[in-house]
Symmetry: C2
Subunit: 466 residues, 2 copies
């Protein structure tokens, strides 16, 4: 009994010693982060020095150079540009969407990847629907109309991302869904909960076999106004002039920095955000925040003297917004080289105050990560639960089993600015942004140090302290 | 064995039935809250219709009328004004604090309750310290100086409230601590982490036996500038002209609405925020947010048809900022009437997105409340832990054992605006504010329905479903 007790005491002592080392390491990461607030300085360079950076725009190449040089200055083992092919959509002159007869245009913006109107102004009677399916019952009545999808985000969702998700089909599939019945053009109520005059852009997709018609987002205030006019029985004529074009695909780059693992160099942990943005505002939250989280997480580990066991790869992905070719090519190259991707973390939900992480992986990985909650809860990391990883890292899943992790900041303000002209540096809070970088660096440290259990194992995995 | 199993099954079914009823009730509260966003409408009335409302100022009486009428319109059982005595401090004309010889004054504001300079301008050589104790070693060198307490908030604290707390002594005791050694006046670096030009006011206290000298806060930028000048060895003369005076105490009011309990009417649950504010900005977060949380929590329970078992008392306290006489008188009257105060909740940490609640009560109450985390976590209420209740409700503790609960929103932005001209409606987010009201209403419902276990009991208390 005595020896048994001694073993127990020894074991508990070792556990508490390891826990203590981890506490000190994580504390050092946060101390460095909060006393230097570098994330915000980096974001300022990106937002004010480069500006918005739509894939294949001149700014997007400037951003690549900025990221490359900044990462190099922080002296990881290597920094390189990974060549990829990207679509090249150009907005052209501002879209003009009007109620015919009125001089003042609506607050509107072409949806990303939409066709233009070939230098002409197209006109059609307004038809308002709230569900894609409604057009199936209207059938031939849709012909020559300009269709407004006017379903509002449901404010009852606690997580605004769920409210967004429930209206996303309007923007993504709306054009082809209406073109099928002969509509001339499509308007979409902006996907935001904030009642203001900012139109919110975003990607859309055409069904190949259906005629491509132009699609634009209008602000909530404009959408509500059209809704009110429509309810009185009036059917105004809407005119659309859009100057966007799709150019041939072109060459671009992911920017990658690497710190080689000193024990398991072949096990790669990817952490990333996307460097491209829409061409309204400055892409501050989406996803300037994720880009600087990535760079700052690297700096924090280097600065606090941590040498990883596994290879850490910090990636600024290109083209998440209109193609996701950065993520796709990254996964493709990884497959071709037979790389062992151990786990991936993405930050693409803005630079708000941390709530935690969502985990797209097997149950035993989720439980494993939840064991660290005692280490992370002093830093207001309260949520470690099953959920979404990220768009850029998702293609890695096609290469084999991998656990993806999404950084989860508070979400209440995200869609106020998402894809809109108000997504600027001034709407990012320095400490909130920085806490995100420190959270990611801390999780990265724990995953690297303790690893994740073998995939698909059942039962409880205890942390193997080493 | 079979009967035993049946009992177990029955018990679990009943538990899950009760849990389900609670889920539905809480969902209804949040649905009503998020679809109506009334908190923000109320706050707009208070901030833009009334404005800031320093105790005993004309606006503070307007605010009482506003609260009284609004609460009456929501038709609880009773609404009344509770007469109290309050201090009457008047800022007078704007304070002028300058470096002698410079034309532009610093961004400064008199600290609340400070004496003025009797119509004169006082002058003294600048002396900068970072700790109150430093003056003990300087002794006679302090004579005739104007002392700047220039200790900065430590950004390494995760919770900004702790950073504030660690510098609070400069503002609260700084004047008497310097007057003891013959200083002429005192400046305090504003208690905020944001580097801007807003001076942040706040209360201070004199030691009765020591000469009262004037005290003002200066902005972070001004404090840093003085620090830089000082470091070069220069000792500029500071001039202060402050026009504040302390008038005789006067009559004021707490505003109280009550819903009578239908089962235990003598058990009173108080929920409150404070209606008074500093006279800079609009007191939007501090504590307009807590005031409208209180009113809206009441409306949400009424609107969703909940009839409480206990008596719920919704209190808009007066004079938290410079005397706390609202809270003191409220407790005094409760004692005189022999009221049984069951529990109290306060909202006075701003209108930011909810993180949870902190509980100042016995361990078994904390554990009891933590049992509700499954019901509350879908609403991003992740923290239910031991901690501070609130200034207004604290005097109730002198009447006997009582559990106090403080609403805990995210804290990163709170001290950016605290007691400053930037504490205005525009810096409050409608959904974040509203989620606070719904969180408080939901907790109030659970406490009323399930009660709290007997105080000071040891061991685990299971919820008694009734």
């Amino acid at each position: 009994m005595k020896i048994f007790s001694l073993v127990i005491v020894l074991f508990l002592t070792l556990c508490s010693y390891a826990q203590n080392i981890d506490s000190i390491r994580i504390r050092a990461i946060y101390d460095e982060a909060l006393s230097s607030l570098r994330s915000y300085q980096y974001l300022k360079q990106l937002c004010k020095g480069v500006g918005h950076r739509l894939t294949a725009s001149p700014n997007s190449y400037k951003a690549v150079d900025w990221g490359y040089e900044l990462m190099q200055s922080l002296q990881p083992d290597t920094v390189y540009k990974q060549e990829i092919i990207v679509p090249h959509w150009v907005r052209g002159e501002k879209s003009i969407i009007k109620i015919k007869g009125q001089t003042k245009p609506m607050h509107a913006t072409a949806l990303g990847m939409s066709v233009g109107t070939d230098g002409k102004t197209i006109e059609g009677e307004l038809l308002i629907v709230h569900q894609l399916k409604q057009l199936d019952t209207l059938g031939s009545l849709v012909k020559d109309k300009i269709v407004l999808y006017n379903r509002a985000l449901n404010p009852r969702f606690i997580n605004t991302g769920n409210a967004y998700g429930a209206c996303f089909d309007q923007r993504w599939w709306g054009a082809s869904n209406a073109a099928k019945y002969g509509a001339k053009g499509v308007l979409v109520r902006s996907l935001t909960l904030r009642e203001d005059s900012f139109p919110h852009s975003g990607g859309m997709r055409y069904v190949d076999s259906i005629k491509k018609i132009p699609a634009a987002a209008i602000s909530i205030k404009d959408a509500k106004k059209l809704g009110q006019i429509y309810q009185t029985g009036k059917r105004p004529i809407i005119s659309m002039k859009m100057n966007c074009i799709n150019k041939p695909d072109t060459i671009h780059y992911n920017v990658i920095a690497e710190i080689k693992g000193n024990k398991f160099p072949d096990e790669i942990i990817t952490i990333g955000g996307h460097l491209d943005s829409w061409d309204l505002g400055e892409g501050a939250h989406d996803d300037g925040a994720g880009s600087v989280h990535t760079i700052e997480a690297m700096r924090l580990l280097l600065q606090t003297g941590y040498r990883p066991q596994r290879t850490l790869r910090f990636v600024l992905f290109m083209n998440e917004e209109n193609g996701n070719n950065g993520g796709k090519f990254y996964a493709k190259y990884a497959k071709e080289k037979g790389e062992n991707h151990y786990c991936a973390i993405e930050s693409d939900r803005g630079g708000f105050t941390p709530r935690g992480f969502t985990i797209d992986g097997p149950k035993n990985h989720i439980k494993h990560i939840q064991q660290w909650s005692e280490l992370l809860s002093p830093y207001d990391i309260n949520v470690l639960k099953e959920g979404w990883g990220g768009v850029d890292i998702k293609p890695l899943k096609d290469n084999g089993p991998i656990t993806l992790i999404g950084y989860l900041p508070d979400n209440q303000r995200y869609f106020d600015h998402h894809h809109a002209a108000s997504d600027i540096l001034e709407n990012v809070h320095p400490r909130e942004l920085e806490l995100g970088a420190a959270s990611i660096a801390s999780l990265l440290y724990l995953i690297d140090k303790y690893g994740l259990p073998a995939q698909n194992l059942k039962g409880e995995n205890k942390i193997d302290l080493h």
